[in-house]
Every structure is written in C-alpha cells, then in structure tokens.
Symmetry: C2
C-alpha cells in the first residue's frame, strides 16, 4: 500500500525554488546529495531549471509517471495542486506546506478541501505540515525530506509526528553510527497514519526495530491493535511527550492534534508490549543496542571493567533498573584466576585493572559467555594510554561473537585523538554498541533486558465468566437511558454487579420502618440503613445514614428518625444493607476514554487513594495476568498481604472482581463512568458495598 | 598548602620507563605533550635518557629542587622511595602505584610504612593507587597524570577519588568544549584529602565551580564542615555512587575505602548546599551551564523554539523538575506579534517556526530578556537547512548578552557538516551552553535553577531551648553506663526527654496495685498499665499491657492479674501512664553515624513506616528550617494537615520536638540509637508515649 510513498521511482517538487535557503530548493538538494536513484521533476512556473535539473511549468508537462509529489506552496493553493496531482496520476503527495488544521478553522477547511480531491483520485496524502520520508535502501536512496541528516543504511526505522523530534532521533542514531532503514514524519497525519506506517514496517524484512515518537493518538484503538500485531514481530521503542499538563498544552498547538494529559498512551504502550522511554537520548541509545545485540534471556549481568568507579556507577544503574549483578560461579572464578593479572579483582564486577591487555579482556569475556549465572555482559573499557587499546577492542569483538549473550560497552576515550578513533572503529565494525558513560551504557543494556521481560510477558486473553446475565444488565441500563437518567441508583447498580457475579453486600429497598425491620431480618444483622433519594445530597451530614444497627429496635428507630428529619423531601425510600465490619477498603472504577474503550482503575480506598493517589489503571478488557499485575503494582500492596499481624485478603477474589468489572464494561460500552467504592476485602471474600454508574 | 602539588616547578618521575606502553613513560609523554613549563626529571637506574630527556639514576643526582615526584614502582619499594624523596626535599609525591590499603592487610602495612616516612620529612602524599593532578594554567600546564584527555583551560575544577570517573568527567567537559581549571584524582587518599583539595580550590579565584565524584567519605565531619565553607563561595556539583547495596560492594573493593550503603552522603550534600546528581553525564552538562551562565532568580522559564516537538519535550522535563513555563505578559505578546512571522505561535513556548531567521530569534530573546515573568531562557534551535543558521546563532549570542538571564540552548544539528560546525562555533565562542537534545538542555537549566534555590535556602542555626537540663540527662545516661547497661529503661528515657522539654504522657513507676491506683488518680484516667521489667520480652503477648483503664477498679484488677500471671519473673514493677486515645501516630528516631554525629529520623508511625517506609532523615543538629522541611517532605504529609474532615495536627509542635531531640543528641553523643515511638500528635499537642535509648 505505501510502496509508492516509501519507494518512489520519480519525485516531483511542486514549489521547486532556485533560492538556496528555501524548502523548495533544499528538498531537491537533499535528493541530489543523498544520491536518489529515481527521477526528480522540479515544478516551477518561470525558471527553466532548478539546481541543474530541467524544471516543468506544470505537472502535466512531466513526460513520465510520478510516484510522489512534494507540495511546497501556500496553503490556499494546495487543494488545486492535489487536484492536478490526481489528474496526473501521482500516487502520493508529501505536503510540506503548513497552514492547515494546526492553524485553526480556516486551515482545517483547506485540509478538508484537499483531502476530498485526494480521495476522489485515490492519491495518498502524507502530512500536511510535515517533513517527509527517507528510504536509505542503497538501491533507491530516497530523501524526500527537508531536514539535514544523511543517515547510513541500517535496520532501524523511525517515525515521529513531530519533524523536530524525528530529526533529533535520526541525528542521534547517526551520531552513534547506527544505520537507519526508513524515516517518516507525517505532521498533521490527515491520511497516512502512524498505525499504517507501523504495519508497513512490520512487514518490511529490512526493518529490525522501530523507534516511535508521539504526542498522543487520533485513533488510539487502531494504534493499539496495529501495535500489538507489530510488536509480535519486532521491537517498537517509543516515547510519548506531553506528559505534563504544560507539555500537553505545548503539544496541542503544533500539530493540530487533540493531545491531552493522558495516561492512556502509557497504558497502550504497556498493553501492546511497546518499550516505553521518557528520554529521547536514552531511547536512541537503546536502539543502538537493539540494532546489533540479541535480547538477554534474563536479568543477570556480568560486568568486566578496567577501572573501578565506572563499575560502581554501572552497578548502581543496573540494579536500580531491576537487573542483578550476581556472584560468579567457582568455575568462572577459577578461569579468571588463571587468566587475569594478579592485581585483578575477581568478583562481579571483574576488575581486570587498567593495565589489562587484549588477552585479559578476551579471557574475561569468554568466561562470562560461558558462565551460566549471567545473561548479558557489560564492559567498561577506558583506553588506558599504556595499553594496546586496538588489541583490547579486537578481543572484545572476537569474544562477543563467541557466544549468544548481548554485550554492551562503556567506551571511555577521547575521539579527537586519531589513535582512539581507530580503537573505536574496531568496536563499531565489530557491532559492539558503545557509549561514553557507564550510566548511558547500563541504561541501554537495561532496555534490552526490559524488552526481554516484555517479550516473555503474555497477558493472555480476557476470561469469560459463565453465568453472567448480560441481557439483564443491559436492560437496566437501557431503562435508565430511556428515562433520560444519566446516573444510575444503587438499586440499579447492584443488580448489574450481581449479573456479572460480583458479590455485593445483601441489600433491599424498602418504604417503611416495618419493611426495613423485615428486610434486616432476612439480610441478617448488623445492617446499615441509608435514605435512598436522589434529591438528598450529603446523606451522612443530614443524618440519612445509620450504620451497625444490631437489632430490630435499632432499625426501626433509625428509619423513624430519618422520616422525621427528612420528611420534607417527600415520601422516602430506604436502602437496607448488610453491615460488614472490618475488611480492607478497596476502590474500583472505570472511565470511558475517547475512542479507546474503558480504563479500569484499582486501588486501596480511604486515605490511600486520597493522600497517596495510590491507584493503577489498565485498558479494558483486563486479563487475569493484568488484574494480578494491578494488585502487585500499587505502592501499598503489602497491605493486601496483611501487616502488623493482620491477615491478608483474598487477592484472587479481587483479581476476579476486576476482570468481571472489565467484562461488564466491555458488554456495556455506553457506561461513561463507574465506581465500585468501597469494595471490602476479607480473608476469604471480596464484597462490593456501594456503586455508581454514569451513562 | 597544596601549591607545591598543584603548581609544581619541577617534577621527578621515579619509575620513568623507556617502554611506550607503560605508566612511567606515559606520564612523561603527557607532561611533554601538554606543554609543561617546569622541569621534568626522569629517574631510571639504567637508561641514559627517557623520551629525549636526561634520566637520573637517583633523586639525589637531580641538580635542582623537586616539587612533585611521581612514584611508579612496585608497592614494596615505595617506603624507601618516600624516604629518598624526603631526603631530597621533595615537597609532594603522587603515588601512582597500586598495591596498598585497597589490596588488604599487607598493602595497608606498606601504606602505613611510607606514610610514616612522609610525615617524618614533611612530604605530602597524593594517592596512592591514584592518577594524579592536572593544572591547566597556561603559565604552568602541569599534567602530572597518566590519563589521556588534554583539557582546555577554563574555570571548572574536577576532583574524584576514582580516576576512571575523574577521567570520564574531564573527557565529558572536553567533549562539550568546557574548559577545566584543575583536576585531582587521589585514589586511596591516605594524606591529601578531598576536603583539603576543596578548601584549596575554594580559595582559587580561577575556579568558578567544582565537580566532585565520591563513593563515600573517610571523615564525613571534616567534609561537611569544609563543603559548607566552600559552597558559600562557589557551587559544588557532586555525584555519589555506590547508592545500591551492590554498587557499594563494588565500590569498597577498588579504593580500599570503607564505603557502605549510606544515606548520609546525600544528607551531607543537602546540608551543605552541594548540588547533587545521580547521572555523571547530567552533572557534566550542568557544569557547562555553570561555567558561563548566571544563576536564575527564580523558576520561571521562557521557551523559544523553531520546532514543535522538542519544545513539548523541554516543557515536560522542565515542569517535572519543578520549573514553570508561565504565560507571557501582554507586553511581550505584543512585542512578539510585531516581530515574528505570521505562522509563529506566540505563547510560551514561543514557536518562531522553522523558517525563522536571525531577526526573529533576536526579537524573541530580547522580548524574554525584558519579560518580567520569566527568569531564564530556553532555546530550541534546529539548523533548518533553508535558513541562515550562522545569523541565527549570532543573534542568539548577541541577545543573550543583552540581559542577565541565563540562556541554555538545545542545538539540534549534524556536526559532521562543516556548515553546521561553523554555526556551533558561533554559539560556543558566544558562551552559550548548548546540548544535542531538549531533555539534556532542560536538565542543565533545571540544575541552574535548583542551585538558585539551594543558594537562597538558609537553614539557619540550631535553636537553643531555655530550661533544658542537660546535666540531669547526662547523669542518667552516665549512671546507666556505669552500671554496664546499654539499653535505657522507659523510666530513664522519660526524664531525659522531659529534661529537653519534650512533652511525655504522664507516667509513674509503682510496685503494687494500691500504688498503681494512686498513681492513676494523680495522672488522671484513662491510663495504661505495663509491666516494667527488662526480663520480660513481648509484654503485650504475655498479657503485660492493659490499655484504656477507666477507673480504679480496672487498674487494680489489671495489676493483680499481671502479678498473678507474671509473678514467676520475680517482684514486679509497673509503669502507669496516661492513655491518650486518638492522635496521629508519629515516629522519631536517631542513630549515630560513624564520624558524623547523629542522623535524626521522622515519619508517620504504624503502617506508614512499615509499608511505605515513609521516613525522612537529617543530620543533627537539625535547625528549625530543616525540621519543617522534614515535615514537608514525607509522602503522607497531607495526613498532618488532616484529611477526610479530620483535624490537622500541631506541626510546629512536631518541629519543636524534632529540634529538641536533635539538641539532646548533640549534648549526649554517646547515644548510639534512640527511638521515640510512638509520638502522638493532636491538634494542639504533641506527646511522646514511649522511648528507647541505646548507648
């Protein structure tokens, strides 16, 4: 589908310019400089040639076919230009011009207008307000883009809505000597979307890993589904900016996207197995490791170092990232003893000391390759000027090939000196990812290991729960909707929960003290009585709630007192419910996210949610694995296991409740917000005590 | 004092070697290559010359005076070499050789032996197991060091115990084009210490900022006092590694230092106003900003950008670091409107758009220089190939000098292209700190702002509390000590607390039920009765605690029951104390840290400390400002203000209690550990309920 765009045989430039400092000139220059193998057709109404190429007055005049046309003319002229492209049979346009949906209503109308023309002729639109694409394939070398980095061919593809960040990532890879496969920065993304590009690259055998920058998604559901397919085949490294409210505000202004402070993007990354980053530099450095190294089988790292302090820093960073730096086996220690200098420290880190040469490095890497207790190898290599650093590099390269563990190197040197550039070249040619600081190198290795964990994680499928009565739940919601009500009463919420097998505290709605006593008798004491009226806010403050009523007399007098106190609100109904003392107070909830479905929330209730904001979210449908992850990821999870001699609570029951709630939400997409709060968790039971649904 | 070491007029190399790949050769090569202005004397028993310099068989043969002698010979020969240096009148030795305290007992003995010789002759020792020093002063150019980076002269000085990390920092500054003043990496630091070096640099007018790497301190108190003096004059940027248990283990092996997982180093940094980092690269980048930029007056940042996405990232990072990106004034907006391109977005960030030239950048920086609502300026500058990037850089430089706000630039470009290297040169010559990513640049600016806050922070002096009875407290402790007891009883702890004006719940120790009833009567009901015997562990489990006793009968029967139940332990005493229902449970504590004094701990008691580990520490003496910082920095601080309709507690009372505890610890340094747990905080009172002291 996107072949015409990413593998164009001929490119026209509508708005080609003879002025050097102009986009219409730079794009042609880039195609020329980068060595584009196809044909370049400048379109210019007056100039006979542009940058030495024959110029055409209109697209019509071009003798051959055109796959891609760059559009670099004022916004108001774009709809006609697209019409012309359609007539010419141009397959895809890259609209570099700005002035569309990112500039308010008038721009949005122009965008609609050119899109209509494009659709009429089947022209695919990339952009507008965008940079363009690059395909580094040596057989093509298509640089349809106005930026300045000329990437080496490689296996990492980069996509970013923002051209600025896309260029930053591309330059970052280039600076690290990491080759790139394809590049796309699609600005307003009015037609060719990021999911479509991801799918295309998912099928590209030349692409080994994808780096993505985003500020939010226009169609999160489509993204989620596509990303899930693609991550099953290759890693996606991604960063989402606009994480803070101020950042989101800045984001919304520059691409006309509807970015907002959302937690959904991170949740989408998590659900689809995308490796998420919060630092663009860290992401690019990780990509360098992904480009050449295998994924480690586990978290255990062996460190080899020829200098002390950087090994301490690396250990700190690795351990803080959840990796381990375990003790080495007796066998490895013995091997090292036989091969290292007498001053070497034979632990983990293995300190081969600064005077170590190639032999010592070789033997150390070999030992760790064969050490069963480590899954990856971290090397600190400072180019001590009294050693043969070339030989050290050669031995690191050779030994790294002599096994299947990833090797990452912190290479500390001065690259302004020719001698050390040669050493660097040996590492680079040898495919060793290297970084200039231990922290940077350790984070890159940590990213590989994090991806290893992600890849192993199988969230499974959502469970189905036999015995649920979806029809009943739906009928209750439909009835409320028909009655024009958006908030459901407790007496409606409870049957819905029960229809999904969510245990609720026994309850009954009654009209009189006598009925209340009868209801309490059948529910069993103690009970709670609450006045049940939408007209009465702040029921507790108004004396509309009585808890822990232990006998009939207490129920009767509670109801009578409420009738006396609140009679002014008209004839009252009362909600009688089992009172459950003790129990750990939980809070569950959900809200519908634009275009994505529901986010399900879980946390501990009361002060834990109020003071600590200790809640976690997942995107519905929530699987069993995900539900258990929710329990394990709150800060106060220890409270679920019992502290200070207290008993733990029924965690499997909570996980089941979360999944049943998720199923309920999937079946009832019209629910906009839902709280089940509190839920009381006991040692062998989990019981919902109150609920609220907004449709 | 350290002039001879850092400004040597002549350097001898004991262990000079003709072998290129050896330390004894490299040090001479470095002195030569770097252009050392003093005399170089190789000492070699056989070679007539080394690297073209006349070699001497012994130090004695050297015709002139020697300020510094490098020692690069096997460890066991070092004591004699130091003796020889002493006789020659060498002022300081840099012992590059390893094999001393870092290698176990035998090495430690050798270290003691050469130190004795050094002291005898008044020779200062730098190292052993160290790299050396560098002084970039163009009049001297002393490179007494075996590493490979040749720094430009500048105003940042670098000190690191670890040569590997020292070199890393030096190289990092060099890569960024930041000049260095002096460098010191002192390895085992057996004589010349980091505090001494800091004090020396504190007095060095050529040093504008100090960068420090450490893995712990052998004399934390000396460090604390020195750092406090130096930070009053110039910024110290510091990083402490060995933060994780594994990292600390790695640290302890390589310099023979007694590093451990300590929180004390971070607390020392905090107390002395040292700017702390956890990423060496971030620290070096911050140093670049400190080298040229003023400290911002506040947290408000104005952002200028010629590309969207990087401004979003910068905003995220700045806001997450506690900075603000506020709206601009009407005046600034009007100025921008008059000067910017029509497509520009005139908010904060100011998006001057990719086609902006020097005029637009100039006008934008000028506007922010005069905008009263911002304290610093952040610039994203991507070298759009269709603009005059040199002119943009020139205007950024000119405008940045046109005001007194710090300017930090994210400069996104390809430095392999000559054109952009020229642009970079303009920024560099103009003293604009620039970085390759928005995150890196934003963090550097955030470091400047963080330092601005540190500099303004005055923790004040510890308060004195009139009416404290230090003598009484000391006499109780002395009595226990004389009796050979290390754990003080409640009956001893309470009077000590009272002697420092720490309110304690009314209490009395009694021997019988009748006495207990009388005591309860005078204390006032309700009361708690506890059996008071060191012989009885787990008093509650054994029925030795009765709470909330409301009258004489209850007290009598409680005591009688305990006598019956626990009589086997011998004649019993009972602790009768006021029972205080409600109140927020706090925990205070302290422990003595090796060589530093006490760390004082504060947190919320019960599950907050158990589950959330929500406690904070300060080094005693704790001032009023610091005590209030402790209250403000626990995660559950909202609980002190009251939640869910609950009342807040007496925060000033807590702060006073913390300070009184701190004073108590200062007066009683023999206390090794102390708990005041629980302390109950009420709306208008804070009362200690139990305490424990270990001496």
């Amino acid at each position: 589908m996107l072949d015409a765009l990413f593998k164009p045989r001929a490119v026209a430039i509508v708005g080609a310019s003879t002025k050097e400092l102009s986009i219409g000139n730079v794009i042609i220059k880039n195609l020329q400089t980068y060595g584009y193998r196809g044909r370049i057709y400048p379109i210019n109404p007056t100039a006979p040639d542009v940058r030495g190429l024959k110029a055409y007055k209109t697209l019509d005049e071009i003798p051959g076919e055109v796959d891609v046309a760059h559009i670099i003319i004022p916004a108001k002229l774009v709809p006609q230009a697209i019409e012309d492209c359609g007539r010419k049979g141009v397959k895809a346009v890259v609209i570099n011009s700005a002035g569309f949906s990112e500039m308010g209503e008038e721009g949005a109308r122009l965008q609609e207008a050119f899109l209509a023309n494009a659709r009429k002729h089947g022209v695919r639109v990339f952009g507008p307000n965008c940079q363009g694409i690059i395909n580094t394939d040596p057989a093509l070398k298509a640089y349809c883009n106005f930026t300045f980095t000329y990437p080496e061919p490689g296996s990492v593809s980069v996509v970013a809505l923002s051209g600025g960040v896309g260029a930053l990532i591309m330059q970052g890879l280039f600076d690290l000597g990491v080759g790139m496969r394809m590049y796309a920065s699609n600005g307003n993304a009015c037609d060719v979307s990021i999911p479509e590009i991801l799918r295309y690259w998912g099928d590209d055998p030349g692409c080994k890993a994808i780096v993505l920058y985003t500020e939010g998604f226009s169609d999160p559901k489509e993204f989620l589904e596509t990303a899930r397919e693609v991550t099953a085949r290759k890693p996606i490294l991604a960063m989402k900016a606009g994480r803070t409210e101020q950042g989101a505000k800045a984001a919304s202004s520059h691409t006309g996207s509807l970015a907002g402070v959302d937690i959904a993007t991170e949740l989408i990354f998590e659900k689809t197995g995308i490796l998420s980053f919060q630092d663009e530099e860290e992401m690019v450095r990780a990509a360098m490791a992904f480009a050449t190294q295998p994924i480690p089988a586990g978290n255990r790292v062996g460190i080899i170092t020829n200098t002390g302090g950087p090994a301490v820093i690396a250990t700190d960073v690795l351990v803080a990232a959840g990796l381990e730096v375990p003790a080495l086996s007796e066998t490895s220690i013995a091997r090292l003893k036989a091969t290292q200098l007498p001053q070497a420290a034979l632990g983990n880190p293995v300190d081969v000391v600064a005077t170590a040469g190639g032999d010592q490095f070789r033997a150390a890497v070999d030992a760790l390759q064969e050490e069963e207790g480590v899954d990856s190898i971290f090397i600190n290599f400072v180019t001590a000027p009294f050693t043969d650093t070339h030989e050290v590099a050669r031995q690191i390269v050779a030994a790294s090939r002599n096994g299947n563990k990833p090797v990452v190197c912190n290479f500390m040197t001065d690259l302004t000196q020719e001698r050390y550039r040669v050493t660097m070249g040996i590492l680079k040619e040898g495919g060793i990812p290297f970084y200039a600081t231990p922290t940077a190198a350790a984070r890159a290795l940590a990213a590989l290991a994090r991806y290893g964990r992600l890849r192993k994680r199988d969230i499974g499928r959502p469970e189905t729960f036999p015995g649920t009565d979806a029809a009943k739940a739906r009928s209750i919601v439909d009835r409320a909707r028909k009655a024009g009500r958006s908030v459901l009463s407790a007496a409606e919420v409870y049957p819905i929960l029960e229809a999904y097998g969510i245990p609720v505290a026994g309850w009954k709605v009654v009209q009189s003290a006598a009925e209340a006593v009868a209801a309490a008798g059948s529910i069993g004491y103690p009970v709670v009585v609450k006045v049940d009226s939408e007209a009465i806010d702040h029921k507790s403050d108004r004396g509309g709630v009585a808890v822990n009523l232990k006998d009939a007399a207490a129920v009767r007098s509670a109801v009578e007192e409420m009738q006396a106190r609140l009679g002014a609100f008209g004839s009252l109904r009362f909600f009688v419910q089992k009172f459950l003392p003790g129990g750990r107070e939980l809070i569950l909830g959900a809200r519908a996210e634009r275009e994505l479905g529901h986010l399900v929330m879980f946390g501990l209730g009361g002060i834990y949610v109020e003071v600590l904001k200790d809640v976690v979210f997942k995107i519905a449908p929530v699987t069993g694995v995900e539900a258990r992850e929710m329990l394990a990821s709150i800060k106060t999870r220890a409270l679920l296991d019992g502290v200070r001699g207290g008993k733990g609570v029924d965690k499997e029951g909570i996980a089941s409740l979360i999944q049943r709630l998720s199923r309920l939400l999937t079946d009832l997409p019209m629910i906009r917000e839902m709280d089940v709060n509190p839920v009381l968790a006991f040692e062998h039971a989990v019981i919902a005590v109150d609920g609220r649904i907004r449709i």
